[in-house]
């Protein structure tokens, strides 16, 4: 995984609350056996009309969304299914961070493992971001802060280990594999119990 320290981008806004993973990537695209290429199907049922043509009224199809890597979404983003295809689709599309007031547990875990930042901000900053699509913001992992165009900052919580992994490009599996001796000791202990 590539280390991430800061991210600077204009935002794209999907204001709806409770955007579930079935919207992010509908189940019919889960028959894939690879992680690649899912960006094409991101938000498929919102993005494309019945004829398969992009809907002009959907924000991700609009010219101003091009190049935006920060998605600002309504409360409780990523609820529903555990499909990691959701963060894979977002990453493949070019999204590097999702900003909300709440992000569902499994989606957040999956996102972190794919270098997609789950950023939880206070309702005030969130409201401002929802009302100002296209705002140029900076997300800094070291200080756990999102800086708005006017210079105001919104702090966001980030679990220290996740931060360490993101900033150093460390993958969790390597960390777990280094615990092999402790895992073996646990297995011996619980077999005796």
């Amino acid at each position: 995984m590539e280390p991430i320290r800061t991210l600077r981008s204009r935002t794209v806004v999907l204001a709806a609350n409770d955007i579930d993973t079935d919207q992010i990537i509908p189940a019919r695209f889960l028959t894939t056996t690879s992680r690649e290429g899912l960006g094409e199907h991101l938000f498929a049922d919102w993005r494309y009309g019945p004829d398969g043509a992009p809907r002009a009224d959907f924000v991700l199809n609009q010219p101003q969304a091009r190049g935006c890597s920060i998605l600002v979404a309504g409360h409780n983003f990523g609820c529903g299914s555990s499909r990691e295809h959701a963060p894979w689709a977002l990453s493949d599309f070019g999204v590097r961070a999702v900003v909300s007031t709440q992000i569902a547990d499994i989606f957040r875990n999956n996102a972190l493992k794919n270098g997609l930042l789950p950023v939880i901000v206070e309702p005030g900053a969130h409201r401002w971001l929802i009302e100002h699509p296209g705002a140029e913001v900076t997300i800094d992992l070291g200080s756990s802060a999102l800086t708005l165009p006017g210079g105001e900052t919104a702090r966001f919580p980030l679990e220290p280990f996740a931060r360490y992994c993101l900033m150093n490009g460390v993958d969790e599996l390597g960390f777990l594999l280094e615990r092999a001796a402790q895992i073996s000791a646990y297995e011996a202990r619980s077999a005796l119990a």
Binding site: D22, A27, P50, N76, E84, A104, D105, P160, L173, L176
Partner: protein, 467 residues
């Protein structure tokens, strides 16, 4: 003396390989890893890419359910699986299980079924175990007093390689349910009411423990229905303290401990219920006696009202308005008597024997209304056999419903069992998200009893009118 602990805390603590610190999450040991065809392929690929072996194939167990056909001729008759990509996924799981030494209940196996139905059914799921699966409805297994939660595919790979996960300890939420459920009101109505109360994000960051005399009075099938939908309230896991009902359910099951091992297990399991003085981070109280048959009217499971109720009015909420527009409903409208096109009975929420019995009890001697397509999909091949032994299949078929082989089927439509665009489907499954059961499908979540009543009348019906 140690501090009083909840059920969750006892299971968590006994699985800490390394406890969490300020800087690092806990290393949590996993006792049972269930896998299926949809969320495992990329995890096997990751193992191969790193040249790793599967640490504990003996604690890993595979089945296929999400994208498998339910038509008998496609399962057993040699007819091809309708969707080529699904067929490929099934073959890939077979190859991966073979290569890594994982026991697989394949397409033709008599023990196959939806992963969350067969775990408990085979006795693999047991009190006090940690259970994970790349599927959010893994919360189902918490009904037996296990700590069970859904994980993503990267985490599936972590468990493959190390039998462990890095986890921060979640907070605890007690849902205390008191009072007697009235006739025609069951576990599905209860959990829908709970989700309506705490909201689809209300349980985020928490493990729910369902408690109180109402919960203690539920049979195991009903407890699994309740725990299954914990994720619909945002909680990754839901648990119920194991008791005599749990032990009776497990006794004699294929993979449950036998003989002396059973006695030892019972002794351990009896220690699992939370200490009386244990505290939860949050508590919610629910009056079961006041509940009525429930049904969703919108596009998430929290948008739920009694079948006889009225859709709320929320002004200045464009998302709510969009949801109702998708459903073809208006604020202030009643859903009762609304025409229904499709009825689906099945899924990991309501695909167990008692669910099929409930639906059959209403269909016996009645017909599915003209124009309604009713699909009954047992949760496992064992459920199917048991239902057939009781003659439930005849009741469904004679009523005009389709009786299929087991699988996830129309809950998410991956296998081609879909609700047509614009059609109203009363479904015993767990998610009414936009497009979940097919592009443009309009899902009304309800209990098996309510679903059967709607099938008979061809309209949204309170089952108490027919019992």
């Amino acid at each position: 003396m140690t501090a009083p602990l909840t059920l969750f805390e006892k299971v968590w603590r006994s699985h800490e390989v390394v406890p969490e610190t300020a800087d690092t999450p806990a290393v949590l040991y996993i006792d049972l890893h269930l896998i299926h065809e949809v969320t495992s392929p990329q995890a096997f690929t990751a193992l191969r890419e790193r040249g790793l072996r599967l640490r504990r194939p003996d604690l890993t167990f595979a089945t296929m359910d999400h994208s498998t056909p339910t038509r008998t001729e496609q399962v057993f008759g040699g007819a091809p699986i309708g969707i080529e990509a699904a067929a490929r996924q099934v073959r890939e799981l077979e190859r991966n299980c073979e290569a890594f030494g994982v026991e697989l209940l394949g397409l033709h196996d008599a023990r196959r079924g939806i992963v969350h139905i067969i775990g408990p059914e085979l006795g693999l799921t047991q009190p006090g175990k940690t259970v994970v699966c790349g599927d959010s409805h893994t919360s189902t297994h918490g009904a037996l007093g296990a700590l069970a939660f859904g994980i993503g595919t990267t985490e599936v790979g972590h468990v493959f390689a190390t039998q462990c996960l890095l986890q921060r300890k979640p907070r605890t939420l007690a849902v205390n349910v008191h009072g007697r459920l009235s006739a025609g009101v069951g576990a599905k109505d209860l959990i829908l009411a709970i989700i309506g109360r705490i909201g689809v994000g209300g349980g985020t960051g928490h493990v729910i423990e369902y408690r109180g005399e109402t919960i203690a009075g539920l049979d195991m099938d009903a407890r699994m229905t309740v725990c299954n939908m914990s994720i619909e309230a945002g909680a990754r896991a839901g648990m119920i303290a194991p008791d005599e009902t749990t032990f009776r359910y497990l006794a004699g099951r294929l993979r449950a401990p036998q003989g002396e091992a059973w006695d030892g297990a019972l002794e351990r399991w009896r220690q699992l219920p939370g200490d009386p003085a244990a505290r939860f981070d949050r508590e919610v109280d629910i009056d079961a006696a006041a509940l009525e048959p429930m049904m969703t009217y919108g596009t998430n499971p929290g948008m739920v009202i009694p079948v006889g109720g009225t859709i709320p009015e929320r002004t200045d909420d464009p998302v709510f308005a969009k949801s109702l527009a998708y459903m073809g409903f208006a604020p202030g409208e009643r859903i009762q008597e609304h025409p229904v096109n499709v009825v689906f009975v099945g899924s990991c929420t309501n695909g167990r024997l008692s669910d099929l019995r409930a639906a059959a009890s209403l269909l016996r001697g009645r017909k599915v209304a003209t124009g309604v397509h009713m699909l009954v999909v047992p949760g496992s091949q064992q459920v199917k056999r048991e239902a057939e032994a009781e003659g439930l299949d005849r009741i469904f078929i004679e009523a005009g419903a389709e009786w299929r082989e087991s699988g996830c089927s129309m809950c998410l439509g991956m296998n081609g069992d879909l609700v047509p665009k614009g059609h109203y489907a009363v479904s015993t499954s767990n998610r009414n998200f936009e497009g979940r059961q097919g592009i443009g499908a309009r899902t009304l979540l309800a209990s098996p009893l309510t679903a059967a009543a709607c099938a008979v009348r061809g309209r949204v019906t309170d089952p108490r009118e027919l019992i």
